[in-house]
Amino acid sequence: MDVFLQQCVNAISLGGIYALLALGLAVVFSIVRLINFAHGEVMTVAGYAIWLALVSSVPVAAAILLGVIVAMLASVAMERVAFRAMRGANVTSLLITSFAVSEIIKVLFQNGISARPVPIVLPPWMSGSINFGFLTISVMSVISITVVILALIVLTFILTRTTLGVAMRAAAEDFPVVRLVGIKANHVVALAFAISGVLAGVSAVLWVAQRGSVDPLMGAAPVLKAFIATVLGGLGSLSGAVLGGFAVGIVEVFLQGYLPDSVAPYREAISLSIIIAILVLRPDGLLPAQNVNRS
């Protein structure tokens, strides 16, 4: 029983990171129809910013904050430099642009720093664990889950209580009319990328803290999972992205924990098969986006 609860905590903590990344992808997709494969590189940028700050003996809290801010700036800069010129282009062109941005950033880190992982040393208390009687939970899991919940609360506040946040939800439905009522398109798009960047930055902090190192390819794997999560939840649907993220995390952790050794190498194949099965039953995802596609 305690092993099962232990796995539940792990699943929620991993699923939470996927949920934040998936939300970042969904926020941008819902507005500019861009599936941003360079989202993982925003994580990588944040990871290296944290590494650089810690190497320069900046305090841990400041380094983490810096990582998140750098991720936000990187995401907004990506939009200005690469995606703004492509606004209104078809989904394929946007997708290829994001692959290009992703490759360029990877190569820059490989050649500029190192292709090999660099270590991140966090204070020892963060890698400890807390004993709840019958249940032992790692401090990192507690932090992850808390941070994910806080991020979701803040995002909900922005989307329902601020003008630009409400405009973002409206833009996911009908962008031209948002402009007709006088709201600047560039502001809405910039906010979407900023939010997406902050979510990637927060995910990067949690990811790096659990792994203890940063490398040029660190963002690729989690963002691929997050992409699967957004499709599973319903592409462009924000609540769908969160649900999808947790679903992917739960499937991954439980297969890892309970599959017999002989089939363990097929873990990814089995988890993707489960997701394909869900999509066969619900082709628009678990919680489809409500936007009406006008052409």
């Binding site: 409400v166 939800r169 409206a170 439905e173 007709l180 009406v292």
Partner: protein, 234 residues
């Protein structure tokens, strides 16, 4: 107030507008009439900044405005109620109104304006927390107009406001348009209901195949029997 001169709009080989010109004077209702595909909605979209004209000019209060983005034109007092209403269905009624005035007023002014509009459209107050997509067609039209009025427009562009509404609702919409004109808002109205439009319009412009086929006062056009022929000939 608004002068459209020689407006041309081309989509590839298709010429939607082939050089149309007309004026809208301050305080007037001008009805833009014509068969489906005559270019009425295209004209409104070009004035509101949703479409960039191929050539020709739009002058508003003496300044050229063609090619400006819709958000700038909205801030200068031009407000379009688009065809098919296009309210934000997944947002609440209150959020729709909020966005309507978001770029034009402080939070306090917005609250006052929303109150005034809710007095005019009591149904919007009753449904304030409801998702706008759950309103009936007529209520959605009221919301679309109220959303446009949140910005206190000087020039209101209405694209087929009575389309698909019950007869009783159609009458309410036309009454409302007259009231708004009397309150000082200049109105450019695109409509398929020709008799009712000409009855309230100060001037009318009839489009056919992307050109101005006829123009005159509402009374003149209403008396002219040829208008029905021109209008019905697609």
């Amino acid at each position: 107030m608004l002068a459209v001169e020689n407006l041309v709009m081309r989509y590839g080989p298709v010429e939607a507008l082939r050089g149309i010109s007309f004026n809208v004077r301050q305080g007037e209702i001008v009805a833009l009439l014509g068969a489906n595909g005559a270019g009425k909605s295209t004209t409104l979209a070009a004035i509101a900044g949703l479409l960039k004209p191929t050539s020709g000019t739009v002058t508003y209060h003496g300044r050229p405005v063609s090619g400006l983005p819709p958000e700038t034109l909205s801030r200068q007092g031009i407000s379009l109620v688009p065809e098919g209403r296009r309210i934000f269905a997944s947002l609440s009624v209150a959020e729709n109104l909020w966005l309507g005035g978001a770029s034009h007023a402080t939070a306090e002014e917005r609250r006052i304006r929303q109150n005034q509009l809710e007095e005019r459209f009591p149904i919007l107050r009753e449904r304030t927390r409801q998702k706008a997509g759950l309103l009936s067609g007529g209520e959605q039209q009221m919301l679309a107009i109220a959303r446009a009025l949140m910005s206190k427009p000087k020039l209101l562009l209405l694209d087929e406001p009575s389309l698909g509404l019950a007869p009783q609702m159609v009458e309410r919409v036309f009454d409302l348009i007259t009231t708004l004109r009397d309150e000082g808002i200049t109105i450019l109205l695109v409509e398929q209901n020709v008799p009712m439009s000409l009855a309230i319009a100060d001037h009318g412009v009839v489009l056919a195949n992307g050109r101005v086929a006829m123009a005159g006062t509402g009374v003149e056009l209403a008396r002219n029997s040829k208008i029905t022929e021109t209008y019905l000939a697609a």
